[in-house]
Structures are given as C-alpha cells and as structure tokens.
C-alpha cells in the first residue's frame, strides 16, 4: 500500500441501492478492478472513505460482514455535500472507496461468550457488520441478544434483516422505538434503548456488550450496563469524529492522545474511561 498514492481511491460500482429509512440509504459496492477485488480483505468494525468523485469524501463504516465475499456495503444518512451527492447516485454508478482503515472488533477474543448487541438509530451499520460476522461463525458464540432502537418505526434500518434475526431460533431480538414513535401495529418495545436495556436486564455473566449509537444514547447506556455487572473491559463501542484522511495524518479526529481513525474506531469502555471527553 505504501508505494502507491495513499489518497487514490478504488473505483467501485453500485450494485444495489436500498432505501432504509427517510434520508438513509444503503449501497452494495463491487470493485471494478478485479485485481483489487481478489486481494481486498477487511475486519469487522473497520471503516472507509467513500467519495463521490468531484464532490469529496465521507466517512462510514463497512456495514457488511467480512464473511460476505465479493462486495462491501455501506449505509449513510443524507446530511452534507458528499452524502447528498451520494444519495443521488443510482445502481450502476461509479463511486470511490479508500480503505479499510482503523482497528476492528476483537471477535476472536469473544469465543464461547454471550454477545449483547445494543444499537441506536443509524448506528446499527457498524453493529450489523459484527452481528453477521458472528452469526456466520454461530457455533463460536453462545447466546446472542440484540437490542435495537430508533426514534420512530420508519427510522429502523435493515428492516428486512431485523425480520431474519427475529426468526432465528438462537437470536433474541428486541426492537424498540422512542415513546411516541410507535405505529398502531407496532409489536416491539416502546422506550429509549437504555430504559429497555434496564427492563430486559440481560445477565452480564460471561457476556460481551457492544454498544453503538448517538453520544446521548451511549452516555445513558454505559451506567445501565455497569449496574448490570458488566466490567468496563467487556463493553465495546465505536467512536465517531470528523475525519478527512482516515490514517492518522490530517490531525483532526484525535480524542486526547488517541487517533479515532488509526487507534480506533473500536474502543473498549475501559479505554474510553481513560480518554478525555473530546468526541
């Protein structure tokens, strides 16, 4: 990678576009250059810089699992210049991708443990990657519980996959919407994710908790997990900070001594506790 111009993205073709929620889309991307396709590997939790050539770059995680070969997926909300340009792209269009960057979820250390996935709103994508990765190695893990909440029913992303997980016998899925976000036929929970977590109160015995969501949700979820007996080193999350380069050069994503792009984005709550509140 270092002989090459590290800023030059791969060109990717958009295979599939899915409208996940208002202003939220998912792309399935394949590599145009087969040679790149053959030796492209990544680990769950890593991210990339997706670029609309001529508009700029935007940072999202790789939402598909490494076990799904031949393509990568990303999910994004239309918020700024690049994501607006991305949302205008359709199937067959070409975009750029740089990556994979950052560290990954240490799923090999979680063997024979229960997994508790807690996600909020549009933060399900990084979580989805690690959930599918673990489901594809299902026998390595014991009980898998997923608690996923969003503001309203319409805001729930990956609705199709939520059904699949719901029907899986060895996966316990709890979906919730914020109070007032439910529709008449909504059968899931109603309440903020931290409160639903407190109600379900999954045991912390031999369990790893993975939390992804907006800063407000994370702030209220960690104390609940601690109350349930989760040790800080058994809680993992991904941090989000403004990024431009993705590999520790442009100087903006640091939280205290640590670069979110190079030393993260995956951190344990134990590491987080030692970091200043700069995210």
């Amino acid at each position: 990678m270092n002989e090459q111009n590290i800023y030059l993205p791969y060109l990717m073709r958009i295979e599939k576009v899915t409208d996940e929620a208002p202003l939220v889309k998912s792309f399935r991307l394949t590599f145009i250059d087969d040679e790149v396709l053959n030796n492209f590997t990544f680990k769950t939790g890593q991210f990339g810089e997706y670029s609309v050539i001529g508009e700029g770059e935007s940072t999202f995680c790789i939402a598909s699992s490494p076990t799904a070969k031949g393509y990568i997926e990303c999910t994004f909300r239309q918020a700024g210049k690049v994501t607006t340009a991305l949302s205008l792209k359709g199937e067959g269009d070409i975009i750029g991708f740089r990556g994979p960057y950052g560290n990954s979820f240490p799923i090999h250390e979680w063997k024979n443990k229960n997994l508790l996935f807690i996600a909020g709103g549009i933060a399900l994508p990084p979580m989805r990657s690690v959930i599918w990765n673990c489901l594809d190695l299902r026998k390595d893990y014991k009980q898998i519980t997923i608690i996923y909440g969003a503001r309203t029913v319409a805001d729930l992303v990956y609705k199709h996959e939520l059904k699949i997980w719901d029907e899986m016998p060895d996966v316990k899925l709890i979906t919730t919407v914020d109070p007032g976000g439910e529709t008449p036929d909504w059968k899931g929970e109603i309440g903020f994710v931290p409160t639903v977590l407190g109600k379900i109160a999954p045991s912390s015995e031999n369990t790893i908790a993975i939390v992804c969501g907006p800063p407000i949700m994370i702030k209220y979820t960690f104390p609940v997990l601690e109350k349930l007996g989760f040790a800080a080193e058994n809680i993992f999350t991904t941090l989000e900070n403004r990024m431009k380069c993705g590999f520790g050069k442009c100087g903006r994503c640091n939280v205290g001594k640590v670069f979110v792009c190079k030393d993260g984005p995956v951190f344990s709550y134990k590491q987080l506790k030692e970091l200043p509140q700069e995210y």
């Binding site: 700029g56 700024g80 210049k81 607006t84």
Partner: protein, 270 residues
C-alpha cells in the same frame, strides 16, 4: 495610565464589572490584550501609543461573555466599533461598561452610548491622509497595473489563514459564508481567483460597517494591505450616502437600507 488602573481597581472592587478588557505587556515588553478579573491585578494594565489593538473584537466571544459583565478600555476605533455593534443589536448599553481613552491616555467616562456619540462627533474619524494617498496612487494607475498589483499581493501571497476575518470585530457571524459548502461559493484552499473572491466578499460584507480600525491589515501575516479595500468602501459610502459607520448606536445598516434619491451615474435609464 495611572487613572486607568485606579478606575479598573475600583470597578472590580465594587463588582460593577467582572472583567476589565485592557492592554498589558508580556515579559518581552510586547503588548497584548489582557483580561483582569482581580482588583490587585489592575496595575498590570498599561496604555501608551503601542496599544492599537481593537479590543472590541472580544466583546462577542462566548468564552469572554461567560466571564460576566466586561469593562473595555476603548480607543476611538473601539468606541466606534461598540456603537456599530450596538446599531446591529449585538450589544446593549448595560452589556458593557465603556472606558474611553484618548491617544494621549486620558480616561473618559461615558454615561451611555449617546455620550459616546457626542465624543465621536467631535473627533476626526476620517481615513488617515497617507492611506488616502495610497488609494489615490492606486487609482492613478492604469486598470491593468492595478489588476497586476492586486494579483501579486492577493493571489500570489494570501495564504487564506483568515486572520483578517478573525481580527475584524464586524466579522462575528457564527458560521461564515466560506464555511458553507452547499454550494461552495469560495474555494477553501488558497487558489488565485478563490482568494480574490474571498477578499471581495469580505469587503462587501463589511461595507458600511467598517470603522477603519486597521486590524485586518495589522493581523495579516503576509502584510497585504487588505484594509485598503475596506477603506475604499468607507470613502465611497461617505461620499455617496453621507454615512460613517460607528457614529451612532441607532444607525440604519447602510447596505440594507437606502434613500430613494441615492445618486449614481452608471445605471442606464432611458
């Protein structure tokens, strides 16, 4: 200088204000703005002809507003800045206690903005002769020479550090036009025409509000005479609309008001 220190100490002791925004000296005798909050530190305040910074730029900064009611040591340009900010509804009389200071260092106390207006009406607020001289010299050049002068000074020297924007007390927008990218009107990086577009935009957005304090020129690390662009708008507005910024607290904004008989000689009208 002594009168400033005495007054400052008194104000802090009476807790009439929570911070004095004045001038102080570093170890190497270089002058900078200081923020005195304890009465015993009042004697670090100084005033002499090196104290040119327009301290009014600090009045709208959130972290300074959080310190409580300020008293500001204001020379003529700062006094005009305060009136201009007041006319733009950014500060009111009880937001700030103004201590005027003449260039000889004499202290002036004002009952309110009206008092300041009287002092400013009596003061000479014109652009200095040598700056007018430079503008005349520029206008005497041919158009091509002028263009060459500004391409050389702006396009080839400006590094887009935005010190001119940061130093200007009138540039208080929470998010500047160049900080929007949908659309990206002005290129972020220092490109030749992008630089010229930036400096035209800055001069147009400050037109009718510039009190010619010269901070933009003093802040420019590349020593580019960008204040001349603002002074040109000051002279034009004085000549064409007979208005000078910072002369009254309830002045109409020049560029968003008008007179039906504004004079001009270039609009074709049959």
């Amino acid at each position: 200088m002594e009168s400033i220190r005495k007054k400052a100490k008194e104000l802090l002791e009476k807790n009439a204000v929570q911070v004095i925004i004045g001038y102080g000296e570093g170890l190497d005798k270089s002058v900078s703005a200081i923020f005195v909050r304890k009465p015993e530190n009042a004697e670090t305040l100084i005033f002499d002809d090196r104290c040119v910074h327009n301290l009014a730029v600090y009045l709208l900064k959130n972290e300074i507003k959080a310190l409580g009611k300020p008293c500001i040591i204001a020379h003529l340009a700062a006094l005009r800045t305060i009136l201009q900010l007041a006319s733009e509804h950014q500060i009111t009389e009880d937001d700030v206690l103004v201590l005027g200071v003449t260039h000889k260092g004499e202290l002036m106390e004002f009952a309110g903005f009206k008092d300041i207006e009287k002092y400013i009406a009596s003061a000479n607020i014109d652009i200095s002769e040598n700056e007018k001289e430079i503008i005349n010299k520029l206008e005497a050049m041919t158009r091509e020479e002028r263009w060459q002068f500004w391409v050389e000074h702006l396009s080839l020297k400006c590094i887009k550090c935005y010190a001119c924007r940061a130093a200007c007390p009138m540039c208080y927008c929470s998010r500047c036009q160049v900080e929007y990218n949908q659309p990206q009107w002005i290129t972020v990086e220092a490109t030749p025409v992008g630089i010229i577009e930036w400096h035209i935009t800055r001069a147009m957005h400050i037109a009718g509000r510039c009190v010619s304090c010269g901070e933009c020129y003093r802040a420019c690390p590349m020593n580019i005479p960008i204040n001349l662009l603002n002074y040109l708008t000051v002279l034009t507005i004085k000549e064409k609309f007979n208005v000078s910024a910072g002369t009254s607290a309830d002045l109409d904004s020049v560029m968003s008001s008008f007179k039906s008989d504004d004079k001009e000689n270039f609009i074709k009208q049959s």
